[in-house]
């Protein structure tokens, strides 16, 4: 009997073929005899354009795009690779900035009940705000669409990292803290050599949640600010009514999101420990 992995792979491929087949069939052009509806006539939409493109069309677009992902032919015509690179750059910049603040602050909150009590009300109010709600304010204050998108990523990825860091730090087993105490480690050394490794799995979980949210948000943010990035690309292709490109870029968003998550998953494996 084949191994579980082989069987799962076979099943996955069959599902894919089945789904693509159904999709292809359901998007065949209507028979010539079928009359265009009055509504469509009125609206001036031709039957051709209102149909979702078949997978074969999407694959064709994908082939064309992926064979030259980094071409740059002006503001509204850049390769998918360039657009994704813009988005990834914004996500990483905002994300790293959030990390630089969330980790030390999370440590502080986790180690000091006083700080926890003092800061908790603000965190509770700020956290549920949709990151996109910050956009107008960011645009007004920063006066720069690119930096505003980065700010939105910053604000949305800071919360899970902050809360998980604080939680992880606050819940380090007291035995391990006692080990640090009996060995006369100063607070800084204790934080680095005992609390950080002990809380690292929880912190990494927060970082993984954050990168997922950041990637969700960047698409919407770029639709708003425009210019460059995968979010803008999707919106632009929609305005061009190029649905094949829209579907293709949706898939690419999924793939890049998965890669980001995989990277954080690997990092998580590195810091995990068994008790």
């Amino acid at each position: 009997m084949a191994s579980l992995n082989v069987r799962a792979a076979l099943l996955s491929i069959s599902f894919l073929i089945l789904a693509l087949g159904l999709w292809e069939m359901s998007t065949q052009p209507p028979a010539a005899t079928q009359a265009t509806s009055e509504y469509e006539l009125l609206m001036g939409i031709s039957g051709q354009e209102s149909r979702v493109p078949p997978p074969s069309a999407v694959i064709k677009v994908a082939w064309a795009e992926l064979s030259n992902p980094f071409y740059d032919a002006g503001a509204n015509d850049k390769g998918i690779g360039i657009q994704l690179a813009y988005s990834v750059y914004r996500v990483l910049t905002g994300y790293l900035a959030a990390m630089a603040i969330a980790l030390p602050l999370g440590f502080l909150i986790g180690m000091s009940p006083l700080m926890y009590k003092a800061l908790n009300p603000y965190i509770q109010v700020l956290r549920p705000i949709s990151p996109l709600a910050w956009m107008p304010l960011a645009l007004f204050i920063i006066q720069d669409s690119d930096a505003s998108a980065i700010f939105v990523i910053f604000i949305c990825s800071i919360w899970p990292m902050l809360l998980n860091t604080a939680f992880g730090v606050a819940n380090v087993r007291s035995d391990w803290v006692n080990v640090a105490r009996t060995h006369e480690l100063n607070p800084f050394k204790t934080a680095i050599t005992v609390i950080l490794p002990a809380a690292a799995p929880t912190i990494l979980t927060g970082m993984r949640i954050s990168i997922g949210i950041a990637w969700l948000v960047i698409v919407a943010a770029e639709m708003l600010v425009g210019g460059t990035g995968i979010g803008y690309y999707v919106w632009n292709e929609w305005n061009n009514l190029d649905l094949s490109s829209v579907i293709f870029s949706i898939l690419m968003i999924g793939v890049v999101g998965m890669l980001l998550d995989l990277a954080l998953g690997k990092a998580q494996k590195l810091v995990e420990y068994k008790e």
């Binding site: 391990w176 006692n178 009996t182 060995h183 490794p197 068994k274």
Partner: protein
């Protein structure tokens, strides 16, 4: 007599009893340890042994009284006092060797990398773990973990070693093997040790003196029993010494019959008893069945 190495003076611990009142777990604990002594403390569960040990370690604070070591009052934890916790407390993300290196580096920050490593390996070898240097605690058995923990404590060569039921979670066979190892290490190092145990035989094998604690609340260290058995001792032969039986009988009798009522001397210091010289338990004081908790049962069955 010279000033003792460690002096414990009138310790007590009060907790809120949960109903608005106070609960005095133990009170007026007084004793002294000489340098190089191995002392065990036995008492029923909940009488406050761990709390006393944690106060000595500086991890907990007494409600009153003080602890003076080498003429200095103990305030907070310090490297001159090493602790072996019941649950080993190894850092699970570090290998066995790195757990020891962690402690050795903290103790001697100026040592070179090589020296730290060599020193750490020597102590792991001492507990027979030279084959498991690079394994994480999760890949070690309970006995092996406790060995690492003991090696860590001895490696920092503290002036006072505090052990809280170090073998409590181990099976009888493993426990015996590690007891032998502890005897061996102690014969080599002659460190001052203060250890909690529930096991009468373990206490006799290891100690120079055994403190007996009365039951809480308001527990006291009522008696200090001399263990006049020659060193080096061995688990296999120690019970051939007639003094062994006398000491053992005395301890078991205390735990079963007298731990509820026993009191220290008028001045608060424990009564000094030497069963090998014929000191026997003051007779009557019939056993109250409700004082016979797990400890006594285990001591008798052992």
């Amino acid at each position: 007599m010279s000033k003792p190495f460690l002096e414990v003076d009138g310790l007590s611990k009060v907790y809120p009893d949960g109903q608005g009142g106070d609960l005095t777990v133990f009170e007026d604990i007084r004793f002294a340890l000489q340098k190089g002594e191995f002392v065990c403390i036995i008492g029923h569960s909940g009488c406050g042994k761990s709390t006393i040990l944690n106060v000595l370690a500086g991890l907990d604070e007494a409600s009153s009284g003080n602890v003076v070591m080498n003429g200095k009052e103990v305030k907070g934890p310090g490297l001159e006092r090493g602790v072996v916790f019941q649950n080993y407390s190894l850092l699970p993300w570090k290998t066995a060797l790195n757990n020891i290196i962690f402690a050795v580096k903290a103790r001697w920050p100026k040592w070179s990398k090589d020296k730290v490593r060599e020193h750490s390996e020597r102590y792991l070898k001492m507990v027979g773990l030279d084959h498991a240097l690079n394994r994480k605690p999760s890949q070690l058995s309970g006995g092996m973990r406790q060995r690492v923990s003991i090696a860590r404590a001895f490696a920092t060569q503290p002036e006072l070693l505090l052990l809280d039921e170090p073998f409590g979670a181990l099976d009888a066979l493993t426990r015996g093997v590690i007891q032998d190892e502890l005897v061996k290490i102690w014969e080599e190092t002659r460190q001052t040790v203060f250890m909690i145990t529930h096991d009468v035989d373990e206490a006799i094998l290891l100690s120079d003196r055994i403190f007996l604690m009365s039951n809480g609340p308001n527990a006291r260290i009522a008696e200090s029993v001399q263990v006049n058995l020659p060193h080096p001792r061995s688990r296999a032969t120690i019970f051939q010494n007639p003094a062994h039986h006398k000491i053992r009988d005395y301890l078991v009798d205390f735990l079963v019959n007298r731990s509820g009522s026993a009191q220290p001397e008028q001045d608060g210091t424990p009564k000094v008893i030497d069963p090998s010289a014929g000191d026997a338990a003051p007779k009557p004081a019939p056993a109250k069945p409700d004082t016979e908790t797990e400890t006594a049962a285990r001591a008798v069955n052992a």
